[in-house]
């Protein structure tokens, strides 16, 4: 019964064939509840008679069997066999406006045909079915059909579906068409001429299957599948709100490409992306995978309410996850019970409880918000290892001499007297104010500050009124510089007050530095421009009054929060980031005040030993600064009584002032190795990842308002779907495992549906994001079910699923058909012809680059900036677009920098979604702006030049060269008619360029000093422009 050419028959198919006949397929009823009736009820009735208890009228519920067959006071809602006694039919068909349902104000009206369907359904016995998508797909035998056309189970279903229909399926498409279709579908790129030739010449029966295998093994496969995953995952290079700041998630994109290329089983693919961090001893890659649910937009604005933003992030994660895996749009249930699907508001929040446990603060920060982690590439990992080894060996070398150095140091310590005054960390010191008395660059303001006993000598004491002013050469902190600020402070009380400020025009701009006590915590702000703090944070630890604390902050000159380290009493201390932005402002030179700022209250307490450095001190160095006791005092302490910082202090003093050169060299080697490691670590990209904080509680929110807390809820899954197994952990990991449990009726079918959409342009279910009550039973449900079983049984083997689709006769069909067929079945629901539809935005561009010989082929890496029209960003934002240089201009579109506020224009014109939210649907419009882009956009024009050059360089006559060009874009040979048209085209262009040679040079834009015939070249370029704009080029046929 199978076609002889079939060589790869999956074992699972054989299994099903073996069971054939055990469970004969039911004959379809004339009217089916799921296919015909439920969508009518869902559209017209559920709004008031559906799952939403809040809006339910007359207590009548039509989405459940009990409600549908209930008795009402006028009789039965549905009386099987008796439409005229069924209230539902009576009211739908009533001519009395008051009686008729739905009521006028609902603005809904079933068509007469739909009402008649309801009548027929009742008349034929009103057989009820649960919603098809919520019921586990039954295992049915393959249809028993004997036909040479059939290659695998897909074809059997398609043929079965065509029974009683007019069309018969098409035969295989031409080989040229087929290889191009397959290449575009599996690699997102056209086949090369060599590949076409090899395929055409390959007479082995499995020639096609061999091509399939080679394309599946290409790294292009993973890239190509990653594109729609980026759209589903709302991947972007920016945050998406007011400043639309940059972020770095490209390492996650690399993870996706690799996962597809390595054919990671889809259940694992699911679990790692949703909950890799919760696996036992997760690898770096498994945590990296969780970047999936950090790709959402993240707010950052002056009016951002952090609690609201945290809530929005969690909802986005839930709604994305639900759309991608369950094909359910649960968003409606955030405010009220779902109107159409059996998902209550409570269930929404129970599901949300899986996604709202991320320890985040609700305000995005530049270059990745917390939680995030360093995610070195493979190469970087190697370098990192080497640098770490260097540190270890330097440390070892030092340790080998430690006993000797220590004894020499000890001897030196015994020699120093109580008056020892070795300079403390003088390298890079910009200024040091002991604050023992009036300072050279300072003056008293608003009275006199007092001097009291301090940490070292005396300290400056403030009463909230008097303050101290330094001239404008002190401080001058700027986000682009390296710096360290260090001082001691003692609070008189916990009132708000400013310890230090240096501000430019404080009334308006607040640009500059402020260190203040606010709400009982110490805050630091370095503001670059009004309202844009580069770094603004508070220390989580609350200081107590009447106690000395050492504070230090270091900055390595990167304009982002990552550049800052904050220390309290010599130890790095946790902070809460309030704001962080990319704006670096300018360096200011203003007076620096201690104990005062123009805007906020003065300080009450004492400050001592103020230091500014022009470099970022290391943690050890800050530790040294935080030592209270003097060098001679510590020198008298036994070694084992010294703190680490005291030990570091003594060692640093010894090395600087007394040590021999070899000891210094050993220490220097270690410091250099550490510095090299530290500097390299800064280059390692971070990725935002998921982290679970189970202490975060989950509540319902009344009417979906973030601040209207309702009852507390426990994480759970909706009742309409299989129960959440109690053996699963009640967290994201449990949720992910629940999703890929074979009993879940949705996950496999939703996935198969999307994969089918990839090849056929549309899925079995038209709206891939909605398998809910409103989605009618798909025409090819049996095929969808069968493929889903195959998929799960194969161990969620995505390549096997793809293989079974592309090797089917169904996929291999010719897409040519008659005008009548196109009008009868425009969407190809019957699958009686091959797929034919316009290519996606990314493939259109990538194909042009490939045909023009421009495509840069490396896999992975950070995003790049291809050319775009000048001024596009400037007109609507304040940033200029900087195109990449060299090869980066021609990378695959997958790597194009995606800015949410201003999407790459040619992508946008060809219907690419804007990446604001999860998108799994395909939009495919046909507009004049697309024509203009493909004709005139710089990249397409460069591709035409490249293609023109390829034709020009081809051996042979003009005709041969044009044939070659046509073959490149379509994979097939041009017909005589076509070649005739192309030759005439080439001649007429050539004639014009011969008359206007400067135009020829402009269009062909050849590299100078090459001996080229510009007139010919320009004519080929013009023809290439035509070829790249043909419908057949822009379309997968």
């Amino acid at each position: 019964m199978f076609h002889l050419m079939l060589v790869r028959l999956p074992i699972s198919i054989l299994f099903v064939i073996a069971t054939l006949g055990l469970c004969p397929a039911d004959a379809p009823a004339a009217v089916e509840f799921n296919r015909d009736i439920r969508p009518i009820l869902a559209d017209n009735c559920f709004e008031c008679h559906g799952p939403d208890a809040g809006s339910r009228k007359a207590g009548l519920r039509l989405d459940l069997k009990d409600g549908l067959f209930s008795s009402v006071k006028e009789g039965k809602t549905v009386a099987p066999g008796r439409p005229d006694e069924s209230r539902i039919y009576q009211r739908m068909s009533s001519t009395d406006a008051d009686e008729r349902m739905p009521p006028v104000e609902a603005h809904r009206r079933p068509t007469l045909a739909q009402i008649d369907l309801v009548r027929q359904w009742i008349e034929s016995g009103a057989v009820y079915e649960e919603h098809w998508a919520f019921t586990a797909p039954g295992r049915r035998a393959l249809p028993g059909i004997d036909s040479d056309w059939v290659r695998n189970g897909i074809d059997l279903h398609v043929l079965k579906g065509l029974e009683g229909e007019d069309p018969v399926p098409n035969g295989d498409a031409r080989r040229e068409t087929l290889i191009r279709r397959l290449s575009l579908d599996l690699r997102g790129l056209p086949p090369t001429i060599e590949e076409v030739d090899t395929f055409l010449a390959d007479e082995r029966p499995d020639a096609y299957e061999r091509i399939v295998e080679s394309f599946l093994a290409s790294p292009r496969y993973g890239e190509h599948l990653a594109w729609s995953w980026m759209e589903a995952a709302r991947f972007s290079d920016t945050d998406g709100f007011q400043s639309d700041a940059r972020r770095h998630m490209w390492r996650w994109r690399e993870w996706v490409i690799e996962a597809f290329n390595n054919n990671m089983p889809y259940d694992q693919f699911t679990i790692e992306q949703l909950a890799g961090d919760l696996l036992l001893n997760p690898t770096l890659d498994q945590i990296l995978a969780t970047g999936f649910n950090r790709n959402h937009r993240y707010d950052k604005g002056s009016g951002t309410i952090q609690a609201e933003s945290v809530f929005e992030n969690a909802m986005d994660r839930l709604e994305t996850t639900s759309t991608v895996w369950l094909g359910l749009t649960v968003g409606c249930a955030r405010c009220h019970d779902h109107k159409f699907d059996p998902i209550s508001s409570r269930e929404y929040y129970e599901m949300l409880a899986f996604f709202d446990k991320v320890p985040e603060n609700g305000q995005a920060i530049l270059f990745n918000s917390h939680p995030r982690m360093k995610t070195p590439t493979m190469e970087q990992g190697k370098t990192l290892d080497a640098l770490e080894k260097n540190v270890a060996s330097a440390r070892k070398a030092l340790a080998a001499h430690e006993a000797k150095i220590a004894s020499l140091q000890r001897a030196w310590e015994q020699r120093i007297d109580s008056g020892w005054d070795g300079k403390l960390l003088p390298d890079g010191l910009a200024s040091h104010f002991p604050l023992d008395g009036p300072e050279p660059k300072g003056k008293f303001r608003n009275g006199r500050v007092k001097f009291v006993r301090g940490v070292k000598g005396r300290a400056m004491k403030f009463d909230g009124e008097a303050y101290y002013e330094f001239d404008n050469t002190v401080g001058n902190l700027w986000a682009r510089d390296k710096f360290t600020v260090s001082f001691w402070f003692k609070l008189a009380d916990l009132e708000d007050g400013v310890l230090l400020s240096e501000l430019d025009d404080p009334q308006d701009y607040r640009m500059g530095t402020v260190i203040e006590m606010k709400d009982g915590k110490l805050r630091f702000m370095l503001s670059a421009r009004w309202n844009y703090a580069v770094s603004w944070f508070e220390l989580k630890q609350k200081p107590r009054p009447n106690r000395w604390y050492h504070f230090a902050v270091t900055c390595d000159g990167r304009v982002q929060m990552l550049a800052y380290h904050v220390y309290l009493n010599g130890r790095e201390t946790p902070i809460r980031v309030i704001q962080d932005s990319a704006v670096d402002g300018k360096k200011i030179k203003e007076p620096l005040y201690l104990g005062y700022s123009e805007l906020w209250p003065g300080f009450r307490g004492a400050i001592d030993e103020l230091r500014f450095y022009r470099r970022d001190l290391s943690a050890e160095e800050v530790g040294v600064l935080s030592v209270r006791q003097s060098v001679p005092t510590i020198a008298r302490k036994p070694i084992n009584k010294r703190s680490n910082a005291e030990g570091d202090l003594m060692r640093s003093q010894y090395l600087r002032h007394a040590a021999k050169v070899d000891a210094r060299a050993l220490v220097k080697r270690l410091r250099d190795a550490e510095k090299a490691l530290q500097n390299f670590r800064k280059e390692i990209p971070t990725t935002m990842v998921m982290v679970e904080d189970p202490s975060r509680l989950s509540h319902m929110r009344i009417q979906g308002q973030f601040d209207q807390l309702g009852e507390r809820v426990r994480a759970s899954t909706p009742a309409v779907l299989p129960a959440f197994d109690e053996s699963l952990p009640r967290n994201r990991l449990g949720f992910a495992r629940w999703l890929v449990d074979p009993r879940n009726p949705l996950t496999a079918r939703v996935t198969v549906n999307r994969v089918w959409q990839h090849f056929f342009g549309r899925g079995f279910v038209d709206a891939p994001e909605n398998f809910g009550m409103q989605s009618a039973r798909p025409r090819q449900l049996e095929l969808l079910n069968w493929l889903s079983h195959q998929f799960v049984d194969s161990g969620w083997d995505l390549k096997e699923l793809v293989r079974s689709i592309v090797t089917s006769s169904t996929y291999r069909q010719d897409s040519r058909t008659t005008a009548e067929r196109w009008s009868e079945d425009p969407a190809n629901q019957l699958l009686a012809r091959g797929p034919r539809h316009r290519l996606s935005a990314a493939v259109i561009r990538d194909q042009a680059l490939a045909l023009g010989g421009l495509l840069e082929g490396s896999v992975g890496g950070d995003s790049v900036f291809p050319h775009q029209p000048k001024g596009l960003w400037r007109l609507t934002s304040n940033r200029a677009y900087q195109p990449s240089k060299g090869k980066d201009l021609y990378r695959r579109s997958l790597y194009t920098y995606w800015r949410r506020a201003i999407a790459p224009p040619s992508m946008f014109l060809f219907d690419a979604p804007d990446r604001e939210f999860c998108n799994v649907a395909v939009k495919r419009t046909n507009t004049p702006l697309q024509a203009l882009a493909a004709l005139n956009e710089r990249g397409f024009v460069e591709a035409a030049r490249g293609l023109g050059m390829r034709m020009y360089r081809q051996e042979g006559f003009v005709k041969d060269r044009l044939r070659f060009g046509f073959r490149l874009v379509s994979a097939r040979n041009a017909t005589e008619r076509e070649i005739d048209l192309l030759i005439r085209a080439w001649r007429s262009h050539r004639a014009e360029f011969a008359a206007d040679r400067s135009a020829a040079v402009e269009l062909a834009n050849p590299e100078p000093a090459r001996n080229l015939n510009n007139v010919d070249l320009a004519a080929y370029t013009a023809v290439a422009n035509v070829l790249l704009n043909l419908d057949k080029t822009l379309t997968k046929e």
């Binding site: 029209p869 506020a901 939210f917 046909n926 135009a999 834009n1005 043909l1030």
Partner: protein, 482 residues
């Protein structure tokens, strides 16, 4: 329309193109003004069948969006009481529970600032208008000033997205996209929904594609932005060295080859593509013709101002708006950036009004003179207004700023069947709405009504839900209709 019928109607339109394809560009050489009957019945962007649902008062809309939030107290909302409380702290009872932005939330004092500009009465109805808007004052009898606009949003991004889409978060179609979706276009040579941006000052607050996006509506309804640096429409210009004649030839060649392909595949999409390439070619003529203002008389520039000669200015965009609606564009949206005046109302306001006042008024009188004002609805306003109190604690009339303020602000409408006069009142502080609040939903319910659309019924099914412009809200403000 059911999908099959919709498809068939599409088909018949495509067949029309199929017959037209004999000579590419033939149509382009015909009438460039797209409003002739033939054009209306052919290549124009179709709307939803059944729309408009009733006789429209307005056939098109020009939305003069003043981005950044112009101050109502400096323009149309005359508040003499503020003179008496100038410099005094605004009572807590007036502020109530209003959320403040991070820019003023930390302020220690909130001193009230009266407007430094004089107001006087204008027109037959004696409306008070500030001296910053002398030209608009001259057409005040054509305006319906709504002084009781209100929005819950206080950040630019959220508020402007809300003003364009009735939702503060991205993900909904813009008003222009909805209108194009419902009513289609009237020109076969120009898009139904056009957007133009001008900048009042460098470093204004950014705006986003989504503010004219189509979101879940088909992308053909999204706004087409006119006014790039080198070309009026993205990719309109042929590459260097490709003459107009050569371009015409390439399009002929593309069409012929596509026709051969159609013979083979019979996919109606091929015919659509042929038609779209023709439209692209026509746009290469119609757009330059549209933006070629050299034939405008001196009178035009006397009216709009001399800077209307300069592409990229607000005045130029106003002039183009008139030329676009003359040619059948359904929805024209201007964005003028730079109204965000946090620090320096005394400098910012005269600059912004100086850039916009004359051209705004000119557009109204020009449309009126051409008989187009009656069926063109003009809307003027920003995403919110500004605070009556000063930003910064020690303001002076020489230098003070105002923060964002959404709770009460002013917009106006003109033409399109709207009754001149004023509607709604703010309290004496211009902080809260005193009477007849108008929400953003109400604004659009009213706009749709004037276009012959019941705003509750123009819906689009997405993710299983029927979405509409006005979400679940909106009331037609009948009181302002003529």
């Amino acid at each position: 329309m059911n999908p099959l019928a919709e498809h068939q109607s599409l088909l018949s339109r495509r067949c029309f193109f199929g017959r037209m394809t004999g000579g590419v560009g033939a149509a382009a050489l015909g009438s460039l003004l797209g409003r002739d009957a033939a054009a209306r019945n052919s290549a124009t962007l179709p709307g939803r069948s059944g729309f408009p649902q009733f006789a429209p008062k307005a056939k098109r809309v020009i939305f003069l969006f003043q981005h950044g939030g112009p101050s109502q107290m400096e323009t149309f909302d005359y508040k003499p009481y503020l003179e008496t409380v100038h410099g005094k702290e605004i009572p807590k009872s007036v502020i109530g529970d209003q959320r403040l932005t991070g820019m003023t939330a930390g302020q220690v004092a909130f001193p009230v600032m009266a407007s430094p500009w004089k107001f006087s009465q204008h027109g037959q109805n004696g409306s008070w208008v500030s001296e910053l808007m002398p030209h608009t004052a001259g057409v005040i009898d054509d305006l319906c000033v709504i002084k009781s606009m209100t929005t819950p949003q206080i950040d630019h991004d959220a508020a402007a997205t809300f003003m364009q889409t009735c939702m503060q978060f991205p993900g909904r179609p813009s008003a222009g996209a909805w209108v194009a979706y419902g009513l289609g276009g009237e020109s076969e040579n120009l898009p139904a929904f056009v957007v133009m941006v001008s900048n009042g000052k460098p470093s204004s607050i950014p705006i986003y594609d989504r503010m004219w996006g189509s979101s879940f509506l088909p992308s053909k309804f999204q706004g087409v932005r006119f006014g790039g640096v080198n070309e009026s429409v993205l990719y309109l210009n042929n590459p260097k060295g490709m003459s107009r004649a050569a371009r015409k030839r390439t399009l002929d060649e593309i069409t012929k080859l596509n026709e051969l392909n159609y013979q083979e595949y019979r996919d109606p999409e091929i015919l659509t593509r042929i038609a779209q390439y023709e439209m692209a070619f026509r746009m290469q003529t119609s757009v330059p013709e549209l933006v070629d203002i050299s034939k405008e008389g001196q009178g035009t520039f006397d009216l709009y101002g001399e800077n209307a000669r300069e592409p990229g200015t607000y005045a130029y965009n106003c002039l183009l708006a008139r030329r676009l609606v003359e040619r059948g564009t359904r929805f024209v949206q201007l964005f003028h950036r730079g109204w965000d005046a946090h620090f320096d109302i005394p400098t910012d306001m005269p600059r912004q009004s100086g850039q916009t006042d004359q051209a705004t008024a000119a557009l109204i009188s020009d449309l009126k003179a051409r008989g187009l004002l009656d069926d063109t609805l003009i809307i003027w306003g920003g995403e919110f207004g500004r605070s009556v109190f000063s930003q910064g604690s020690n303001p002076s009339h020489a230098k003070f700023g105002r923060d964002h303020h959404g709770r009460c602000f002013t917009m106006w409408m003109a033409g399109g069947g709207v009754k001149a006069g004023s509607f709604g009142e703010s309290d004496e502080w211009s902080f809260n709405v005193k009477s007849n609040p108008v929400s953003v939903y109400d604004l659009y319910a009213t706009m749709f009504h004037q276009l012959g659309i019941d705003h509750e019924t123009l819906t689009h099914r997405f993710q299983g839900r029927d979405y509409r412009m006005t979400d679940l809200y909106g009331r037609v403000v009948k009181e302002i209709l003529a």
